[in-house]
């Protein structure tokens, strides 16, 4: 609980970041549909925003590693899993608040579209979990924030385009769709589309796949690095 509170306070102290995290979703909700019978682009593009938000939030864990705080913590009787779960839970809380803001705004703006709000909220929640675990894994690969952010800004955009976050899945060529199945963002967009088409069974499978990816990334990213 100490780490959870600490991580929450540490994030909320960054006023600019908090304002951006809670205000940008409002503006994202305004992005229109690509075509009259497709999902509003705001629903999928918001996924990209979740990915970047998670990246900025989990930066603290990278900072702790670079500044050797993790080594100091390792010298105390505190377990690494307490440190990690406290931090990740705090980031999830922030992302869930962000999701709620977006869903309220989107349901107000897109009241003409019939979508299962609960399932949509669950999709965003699971994608938030994935984003946190993925960025945790990502930060584990790098020794400096500058390199991490430089590679991520390119990689995330590629993942977003191929995975159908910035382009509707229907517009993607079949070859790319074949490759895109290995990306969690593809299954996120797939889930959103399934909810839009009222195909809840497929949506649940897609969400399970996203969760499966999240567990894989957590499995690899949770490894403690002390160097």
């Amino acid at each position: 609980m100490i780490f959870f509170e600490h991580a929450l306070k540490r994030t909320l102290r960054q006023t600019f970041l908090v304002v951006a995290l809670f205000l940008i979703p409002i503006s994202l909700a305004f992005i229109p549909q690509a075509s009259a019978d497709s999902v509003p682009m705001s629903f999928t593009m918001y996924g990209l925003f979740i990915l970047f938000s998670a990246f900025l939030l989990t930066k603290q864990i990278l900072d702790d590693r670079i500044q050797k705080t993790v080594i100091r913590i390792a010298a105390t009787p505190v377990e690494h899993k307490d440190y990690l779960s406290g931090h990740l839970l705090a980031y999830l809380v922030i992302l869930v608040i962000q999701n709620i803001i977006f869903i309220i705004m989107a349901s107000f703006l897109w009241s003409n579209i019939e979508m299962h709000i609960g399932l949509l909220a669950l999709t965003y929640m699971i994608f938030s979990v994935l984003s946190i675990t993925f960025t945790l894994f990502w930060h584990m690969l790098f020794k400096s924030y500058a390199t991490s952010v430089a590679v991520f800004s390119v990689a995330a955009n590629v993942i977003a385009i191929i995975g159908g976050l910035t382009l509707p899945l229907s517009m993607l060529p079949n070859t790319i769709r074949t490759i895109a199945v290995i990306l969690p963002t593809y299954w996120f967009s797939y889930g959103i589309e399934s909810i839009y088409n009222n195909n809840y069974g497929l949506a649940m499978i897609a969400l399970s796949i996203v969760l499966g990816f999240a567990i894989i990334f957590l499995g690899i990213g949770s490894k403690r690095r002390l160097e």
Partner: protein
């Protein structure tokens, strides 16, 4: 990054990632349900890698893959990953079961057999590498341990040497005290008693020449015995500072000698090292330096003894590999926790020996 590539575990991750990617490309699990099952198996695989597992658990994995293959046959490719983990656990015999399943259902799949071969090769290489690495780690650990023990032994020997010196000094003091008491004490007491008797007689206005001459005789005896005792106690061979100074006086060079601090109080076990160092240095100067002037300075503080030997002779540049004499000299000094350094300028070659006294003074 260097450590990552030197660790077999990271190569396990890399190999499994490559194999998974190859399986994904070859089998193309497009349908959501198939992909979900695929992902569930990958999750199990990562759990096996992240946490310690019993090899027999891998049979459960094989069974899961078999069940999965009933729904989607290309899932049998996942058996390669199961086999890799079995091989890395050095349970090659276990791999026969997944191999039998592959033979039974996909005997004609060349791509699958190639991947099995690749997997077997990599698993063998990494296992062999890990064994060699583990042997090296054990050797290094053993060397570290023996180094630690020899350092401890060395420390104990130095302590025992100091203790022996201390006991020798105490024994010698005891011997001298006993000799003074036995030889000198009795004569002085007898002389004192005679003087007291004479003093009493003088008080009573009586004079006795016998008591006075007796006292004189006793004191004369005591004086000659004192001389004998000192003569007998003094060691026949010189040691310590006198030997050190003898080396300087005997040397044919023009030596300017200075000493400062309470040198006579120096622990005796340091003298052999200082003498050897001086002898070696002076011999070197005579043999190689052709010096006209040598300056020897011995300076003692509360914590350190410093011997500086400086000459104006031929100055050779100092190389990393010194002669044997200098090496032995350095070893002797380092045994006592000291250091030997050489300073050279155009006109001077200076040898500085520094030995800590370590509070044993």
């Amino acid at each position: 990054m260097k450590t990552i590539f030197l660790n077999p575990k990271y190569w396990d991750w890399l190999t499994l990632s490559l194999l998974t990617l190859a399986i994904l490309i070859l089998t193309r699990p497009q349908a959501p349900a198939v992909f979900l099952l695929f992902l569930i198996y990958l999750n199990i695989l990562i759990l096996r890698l992240r946490f310690k597992h019993t090899t027999s658990f891998l049979f459960i994995d094989a069974l899961l893959v078999l069940l999965f293959s009933l729904y989607w046959q290309p899932a049998l490719y996942l058996l390669i990953l199961v086999m890799y983990l079995m091989a890395r656990d050095e349970q090659w015999l276990f791999t026969l079961i997944p191999l039998f399943i592959i033979t039974l259902f996909r005997f004609n799949d060349i791509a699958l057999w190639l991947m099995v071969l690749f997997m077997a090769l990599i698993a063998t290489l990494i296992t062999l590498w890990e064994e060699t690495l583990s042997d090296h780690v054990k050797t290094v650990d053993g060397l570290r341990k023996s180094l630690y023990h020899s350092e401890r032994k060395h420390h104990n020997i130095i302590e025992e040497q100091n203790e022996t010196t201390r006991i020798a000094v105490l024994t010698e003091r005891d011997r001298i005290a006993q000799q003074l008491h036995d030889d000198l004490g009795h004569e002085l007491t007898a002389g004192l008693l005679s003087l007291k008797a004479h003093h009493t007689l003088l008080k009573n206005n009586r004079q006795d020449e016998n008591t006075l001459s007796e006292a004189l005789k006793r004191i004369e005896n005591a004086t000659s015995q004192l001389k004998n005792t000192v003569h007998n106690t003094k060691p026949l061979e010189t040691y310590g500072l006198s030997t050190f100074e003898q080396h300087i006086h005997r040397c044919k060079l023009d030596i300017e000698y200075h000493k400062s601090g309470q040198i006579t109080q120096l622990n005796p076990h340091l003298w052999p090292v200082l003498n050897q160092t001086l002898k070696e240095a002076l011999t070197n100067i005579l043999k190689h330096a052709h010096a006209t002037h040598v300056r020897v300075e011995l300076h003692k503080t509360d914590h350190v003894i410093r011997l500086t030997i400086e000459n104006d002779g031929l100055v050779k540049p100092v190389t990393k590999h010194h002669g044997m004499g200098l090496t032995y000299m350095r070893n002797r000094i380092e045994t006592l926790g000291g250091s030997l350094s050489i300073q050279t300028t155009r006109q001077r070659f200076t040898l500085i020996t520094l030995i800590p006294l370590g509070g044993d003074q």
